[in-house]
Symmetry: C2
Subunit: 165 residues, 2 copies
């Protein structure tokens, strides 16, 4: 089955036969797939009354385990947004009662963001919904193929995640 990137690559080979556009076969697919996933997620979450960005923050806290709290800085590295954005997100989530801000007892510059009970429930519900949707998307591949794909992607993401990026 052909996809939009096949057409894109064919077009470049026709227009710029002097260039090696092989990298696009991988990385353009990554970008486009991510964009499709964003849209699909937005739909899935709207059934639970959450925006994708809300999900990202709430689940980061949920994963941290009891007492479900992290510093804004830790949330930054997990969600790949800037500090200004995170401040704004925490404000809005706090206003909705899904998280609360606490002073960090060991560092007076610092803040801890804690999930409320309602925030935790919402995160759990939305996660279950998301996993169902993602399983459906991945049904295109066999279990073995999914493992291979995960491994190959890990090789590309690891440098970004481990070197200060």
């Amino acid at each position: 089955m052909e996809d939009e990137v096949d057409r894109l690559v064919a077009a470049w080979r026709r227009e710029r036969p002097d260039l090696d556009v092989e990298p696009l076969e991988v990385l353009s697919r990554v970008s486009r797939l991510a964009r499709h996933l964003d849209r699909a997620r937005r739909l899935a979450f709207s059934e639970h009354g959450l925006e994708p960005w809300e999900f990202d923050v709430l689940t980061a806290l949920r994963r941290a385990g009891t007492p479900y709290q992290l510093s804004p800085g830790q949330l930054l590295t997990q969600t790949l947004v800037t500090s200004g954005t995170m401040t704004n997100r925490i404000d809005r989530l706090a206003k909705k009662g899904l998280v609360e801000r606490l002073p960090d007892p060991s560092d007076r510059r610092g803040v801890l963001v804690r999930l409320t009970d309602e925030g935790r429930d919402r995160a759990d519900q939305a996660l279950a919904g998301l996993l169902d949707q993602e399983r459906a998307i991945l049904a295109e591949l066999s279990r073995t193929q999914r493992g291979e794909l995960a491994g190959l992607l890990r090789q590309l993401t690891a440098p970004f995640d481990n070197i200060p990026g």
Copy 2:
């Protein structure tokens, strides 16, 4: 080498051992890698005085071949943005003199967006720079692995690209 998604999945298995979080091994990596790529591209393009969104539109027109023109609707399907966004992008590119708007001779509702000579040059320069950067990122993988990865990703993107999404 471990990446952030390995840590994320391990955390979920600890916090929610009742859930099957295997889908995240693939799709969270896709989303996170796309985010890293966005940042890297922004840097690469800034050397050519272009924003990523400008690159997306200009190269779509460049790929179309002489006379380098497409309708806004065709640009939508290639760039995965909404129509309001595309109108805005065309406005700004036209103001910078990189594209121009022409009436579609065969459909009076329609418009054709055409690349100017300067727009074409800028697109060509930025593309070369992008490919260099992407080649460096993909050096983590062998030629064979890149082919496998492209093939697996195609299986996931094809349904989105071919069914009305």
